[in-house]
Assembly symmetry: D2
Homo-oligomer: 135 residues x 4
Amino acid sequence: MTAAAQMLATHPADAGGVDRDALVECIEACVACAQACTACADACLAEEMVTELRRCIRTNLNCADVCEATGRVLSRRTASDASLTRALLEACATACRACGDECGSHAEMHEHCRVCAEACRRCEQACRALLAALG
Amino acid sequence: MTAAAQMLATHPADAGGVDRDALVECIEACVACAQACTACADACLAEEMVTELRRCIRTNLNCADVCEATGRVLSRRTASDASLTRALLEACATACRACGDECGSHAEMHEHCRVCAEACRRCEQACRALLAALG
Amino acid sequence: MTAAAQMLATHPADAGGVDRDALVECIEACVACAQACTACADACLAEEMVTELRRCIRTNLNCADVCEATGRVLSRRTASDASLTRALLEACATACRACGDECGSHAEMHEHCRVCAEACRRCEQACRALLAALG
Amino acid sequence: MTAAAQMLATHPADAGGVDRDALVECIEACVACAQACTACADACLAEEMVTELRRCIRTNLNCADVCEATGRVLSRRTASDASLTRALLEACATACRACGDECGSHAEMHEHCRVCAEACRRCEQACRALLAALG
């Protein structure tokens, strides 16, 4: 069990009727994506062709911030707030879709963009899966 | 001019056709709200009646994280992404509505909750005003 | 009174024997600096001469993250931890010194760097003043 | 290879002469610790005996913020700044030491505190190992 899964399993509140696996996967995906996007933005910044990677850098920075906030909110199970959770998951999925597309467009040229795009796709899927599970 | 207003005025990109005043007000409201919510969560934690303030603490922590992410995304004007901006403003308004209501319910008993509720109302209004300006 | 000052004044814990003005100034400086650095990084990214602003962008991104964490920790007065506060203020002053110097080196060319350098200098001074006040 | 390891391996800059394994371990430890502390703070908040867990909650919130900032700064390899890295690693190790001790003191009573203490110990060790590697 990952630390995130252990933390959820040992929380005094139940998962609020939510699919626990979907919740853990989303937390982990958000946390991993935030780090990948932070690193990718920096890698793009170091590339010779940085002038063509402005949009990518900026999209990565936005995605990192949104994924981080989402991972944190999802980690809080006390008196869970479904309307905020849904709105934030929508924003996170939007950020990850945009970032996955943008990094994906540079994937053949830059390996770090390929890796980051994967992290974004995983996170987008996890957000949409959790949204569906929340009903 | 505040630092946030100066930063926006000196950015090489224009405000992307957005109402500059609405954008600056929202950035400043998000930044102030994030700090107020962090401080209020801690003040509630120190109160004797902390057992009755769990929901308030948790709502404050969520609001701080969402406002912070929103303030950051709004501060980035390069290749601005309207769909993410809208989704995040919706999430932020939702967080601030919930937090303003929750803190407001404790305002008569706890001054820090009264101050925080004001910050949340200001931020919720600023988010909704910017959403309207984005069209 | 600013919201940050009000929040500190209404906290059930005292300021822990700390110079309240120094604490409030530091919180406000951290919060303002974090936003300025986020905005400056983005403005630099949009500049034609972005290739010469890589270090500046990266320094801004680091400074934003450190200032944000410092502002948050300083906002928590419950069971205050002096050793962490000192260590973090040292890191923050270091980040602001580096960023103030870097942005300062581009100030004549880019107004946003001039504004940001001011925010960094203010924050560095506030961190050092608070460190001195902590004894 | 984890995503963090892949991102570092695909960065155009080298690791700056730093022990790559130590760097990856520290990034991963920081990211995992930040999430564990956010979750533990919330779990403690939900406990019946929350009044005895105030210090723990607050220490967790501080640790989460410092670990998050540290993970981000470590993820940026462009024009790496050794003095900031060292100062921040010191602060992070301090935060993780305090949090590991505090959570550890509640570990027998609360499983989430036991899990969190492990994450903090791992992170403290990783920070100190990387500090040693930086020389």
